[in-house]
């Protein structure tokens, strides 16, 4: 359901990515320099992705043992809204009660426009569209914007990730992109779900 047919905003080629300094170049070459790797499909690339993800998150997240000790409460996509109608979404009591607190959510990182991100969109299911490349009318209503302490490159497209951080509610427009969000997590930790 592409909003603008065939005329999505130009995107930077993968070759043109700026990689964050926090990831050593030897891992970047593993991740991005092999076109074969990208076209080999999810099944065969799975093991490589897992390795890349692990290494990325290891360097990003730092000390897993310490982070695991925080008492973040689990929030599921299905628990965010207490009611919905044509007149808008009503936030659930659970969501409202968690505002300002540490939460853990699982979802998928939507394909980003920018190669390095200081925020990304967490969705319930993998997105078929590059959300920033089409109009925001294409977004599902239940999304969470995740702001990051340090920029990251896009994570693998088809693996559930777990986000931990402080929950914030209320309409906010991102200064740089103009993206409007309602539910945000200021992430302190990202990792692959199911670890």
């Amino acid at each position: 359901m592409t909003e603008e047919r065939g005329r999505s905003r130009p995107r930077k080629n993968r070759a043109g990515f700026d990689f964050p300094k926090i990831i050593p170049s030897k891992f970047l070459s593993l991740k991005f320099n092999s076109s074969k790797f990208f076209f080999s499909g999810p099944k065969t690339a799975g093991a490589l992705w897992a390795l890349v993800l692990f290494l990325t998150l290891f360097f990003l997240g730092g000390r897993p043992a310490q982070a695991a000790a925080t008492a973040a409460k689990t929030l599921k996509f299905g628990e965010m809204y207490g009611g919905v109608s044509s007149l808008g979404i009503v936030l659930s009591d659970k969501l409202k009660s968690l505002a300002g607190q540490a939460v853990v959510m699982e979802g998928f990182m939507a394909p980003p426009l920018k190669p390095t991100l200081d925020f990304f969109v967490l969705t319930r299911v993998p997105m078929s569209l590059c959300p920033f490349c089409s109009s925001d009318a294409d977004w599902p209503s239940d999304i969470v914007v995740v702001y990051l302490e340090k920029p990251v490159t896009a994570l693998p497209f088809d693996r559930p990730i777990r986000v931990e951080g402080r929950l914030e509610l209320g309409t906010k427009t991102d200064g740089e992109t103009g993206f409007v969000s309602l539910v945000r997590i200021y992430a302190t930790r990202l990792r692959e779900a199911g670890d």
């Binding site: 359901m1 592409t2 909003e3 603008e4 047919r5 065939g6 005329r7 999505s8 995107r11 080629n13 993968r14 990208f38 076209f39 499909g41 999810p42 099944k43 299905g78 809204y81 009611g83 919905v84 109608s85 044509s86 007149l87 808008g88 979404i89 009503v90 936030l91 394909p111 299911v125 993998p126 997105m127 078929s128 569209l129 590059c130 109009s135 925001d136 009318a137 977004w139 599902p140 209503s141 239940d142 896009a154 693998p156 497209f157 088809d158 309409t171 427009t173 103009g178 409007v180 309602l182």
Partner: protein, 573 residues
């Protein structure tokens, strides 16, 4: 017509050799454009690539200013010069010859285009109902006919309602003026204005402006029927009401993504029913997609519209104007809304009306105007479900769309004087290869039954409502796609929708979740496309009622507009 033979067509002409930057004179509307007398439009001539010293425009040999009685706005800037007259109209039918001469830096650039102007006819129809099955090409009709009516020993057990409109039939060419394959904005714009446009645009010709709202406009059907005949207007759809097809009936924008703007333009219609309240709620309301604080639902109410947010509220709504928005986003498709009813899919929207119910309400309200009405009804998700390669969900929406046509036929039979048109805006590359079953243990492509093996499918409509109870019978159709990304195919109905491909960076990769045991079909379109795409195929149009005789043979899509204004005898002054 020697002057035209000498020159290139299409209104884009280059008559002077030049250096690196090619200067081009662009005349808008384009060559061979057709107008109804009195139909207002903005005429703009651009000299691209040069600062003009002078731009001279002659219509039938007369200076443009005196021909239209309007003073042009002329802009001469480095790299772009423009000569524009807004809101002009032709008063007499016949051919019009336009000659342009622009001078810049000692060079002369010329362009010549020709227009056709048609005059009003005697009014034959009081009302027109235009049904647009989005993306509903010939094969979509046939798939719906097989599912809904069934076929016995090679003869169909019945025909669709749209196929019972037999007073006129035509094949329509769908291309816009920029490209072979169109989109829904551009194609609906041709129906609404009688003029071709470009992909993602509606009600405008494309100039050089980066502002999507600054392109030269052409008066559309909603504006014309109100201005010329005091008729009422309705737009009904299953998608966001601000999506391309309904939007093109009322709005003028180079970019269909301007949905905040389009929502406000819906005030041009009296009955507005569909999904997409997200474009009407102020940005402070959770779920809104507006970038401002306007509450359009309240604005509509203040202008006398009754608001309905559910099927029950629609049934109860009273008055001559109704705004009905039944989902924040696109409404759910028929299969999910009326049959499967999975709460995870409906997400709380458990009381959405059907397209036939919306159509009935729209006709009830609009027919209160003794001057008549124009109503556009769109089956929007026929297209959206083909994009995600879910032909079953698309087919159920085609059947629902057909049921809406039944409502209109019933009204026309009772009240007469109503032209009903049923068509598509463009096609999709689907084809029925045969049937599919696994009765003998074969699976995957080995179980696609071709020729004599393609025994008839076993869809059953036990309750006679036109919708088979089970979308996945033992013998189903083998529907295949001509234009697709990498995707996994298992030839089966998927109770839970999943997109065919998902984006990894810039590349669409087949989504294994769609068909975990399926086979990979390597894509045959660019890897940047994550969905099945439109096809350039001509689309069928069926017409019934007064004025339907206009439609015959193979026609340009812009002729739908001229068939409508002819039937209504529109004579805007």
């Amino acid at each position: 017509m020697l002057w035209r033979k000498v020159l290139l067509a299409a209104g884009v002409l280059l008559l002077c050799t030049s250096s690196a930057m090619a200067e081009v004179v662009v005349v808008l509307p384009i060559d061979r454009a057709k107008f109804l007398t009195g139909q207002k439009f903005d005429m703009e001539i651009e000299l691209r690539g040069a600062k003009a010293d002078e731009i001279k425009v002659l219509l039938d040999g007369k200076e443009a200013a005196s021909f239209f009685g309007v003073n042009p706005v002329v802009k001469k800037e480095t790299g772009l010069s423009s000569f524009r007259m807004d809101g002009v109209a032709f008063t007499k039918p016949g051919a019009v010859k336009v000659e342009v001469e622009a001078k810049a830096g000692g060079k002369t650039f010329k362009a010549n285009v020709g227009y056709t102007v048609v005059g009003p006819e005697k009014r034959a129809a009081k009302n027109v109902i235009l049904f647009i099955g989005d993306g509903m090409g010939l094969v979509s009709r046939q798939v719906a006919r097989i599912l809904s009516k069934g076929i016995t020993q090679g003869k169909y057990n019945g025909f669709l309602e749209m196929e019972l409109l037999k007073d006129g039939f035509a094949l329509l060419n769908t291309s816009g003026y920029d490209s072979l394959v169109t989109d829904s904005a551009n194609s609906a714009s041709a129906y609404a204005t009688g003029h071709k446009s470009v992909v993602n645009a509606m009600g405008v010709y494309e100039n050089s402006s980066p502002d999507p709202l600054a392109h030269p406009k052409v008066e559309n059907i909603a504006e014309l029927v109100k201005r010329a005949a005091g008729m009422s207007v309705g737009v009904v759809t299953t998608s966001n009401i601000t999506d391309a097809t309904p939007a093109a009936m009322v709005a003028h924008t180079r970019r269909r993504a301007e949905q905040n703007f389009i929502a406000g333009e819906m005030l041009k219609a009296d009955v507005v029913l569909g999904g997409g309240s997200q474009q009407f709620l102020p940005q402070s309301t959770p779920g809104s997609r507006r970038k401002d604080d306007r509450n359009l639902i309240e604005e509509f109410k203040a202008k006398g519209y009754a608001f309905a947010g559910s099927r029950a509220e629609l049934a109860a709504a009273k008055g001559g104007k109704i705004l009905g928005l039944f989902n924040l986003d696109n409404m759910n498709v028929y299969l999910d809304r009326e049959i499967l009813k999975n709460p995870d899919v409906l997400k709380g929207f458990n009381d959405q009306p059907t397209l036939p119910e919306m159509t009935r309400k729209a006709i009830d309200v609009l027919s209160g105007n003794e001057n008549g009405f124009f109503l556009m009804v769109e089956g929007a998700c026929i297209d959206k479900q083909l994009h995600v390669m879910d032909w079953e969900r698309s087919a159920y929406d085609t059947i629902e769309f057909d049921k809406a046509i039944a409502v209109a036929r019933e009204f026309a039979a009772k009240n007469g004087s109503t032209l009903i048109l049923a068509t598509a805006d463009h096609s999709h590359g689907i084809s029925i290869t045969g049937t599919y079953h696994e009765k003998d243990g074969k699976t995957g492509r080995q179980a696609v039954r071709t020729y004599a093996a393609s025994t008839f499918p076993t869809f059953v409509d036990a309750d006679g409502d036109g919708f088979p109870e089970n979308p996945a019978p033992e013998v189903t159709l083998a529907v295949e796609y001509a234009n697709h990304p990498d995707y996994y195919e298992d030839f089966k109905f998927h109770e839970k929708s999943a997109p065919p491909a998902i984006m990894s960076g810039d590349v669409a990769i087949g989504n294994t979740r769609r068909a975990p045991k399926g086979i990979l079909y390597p894509g045959n379109i660019p890897t940047s496309e994550s969905q099945e795409v439109h096809a350039a195929d001509d689309v069928p149009l069926s017409a019934g009622g007064p004025g339907a005789d206009y439609f015959k043979g193979v026609m340009d899509n812009t002729e739908v507009f001229f068939g409508i204004v002819r039937a209504l005898g529109l004579d805007p002054k």
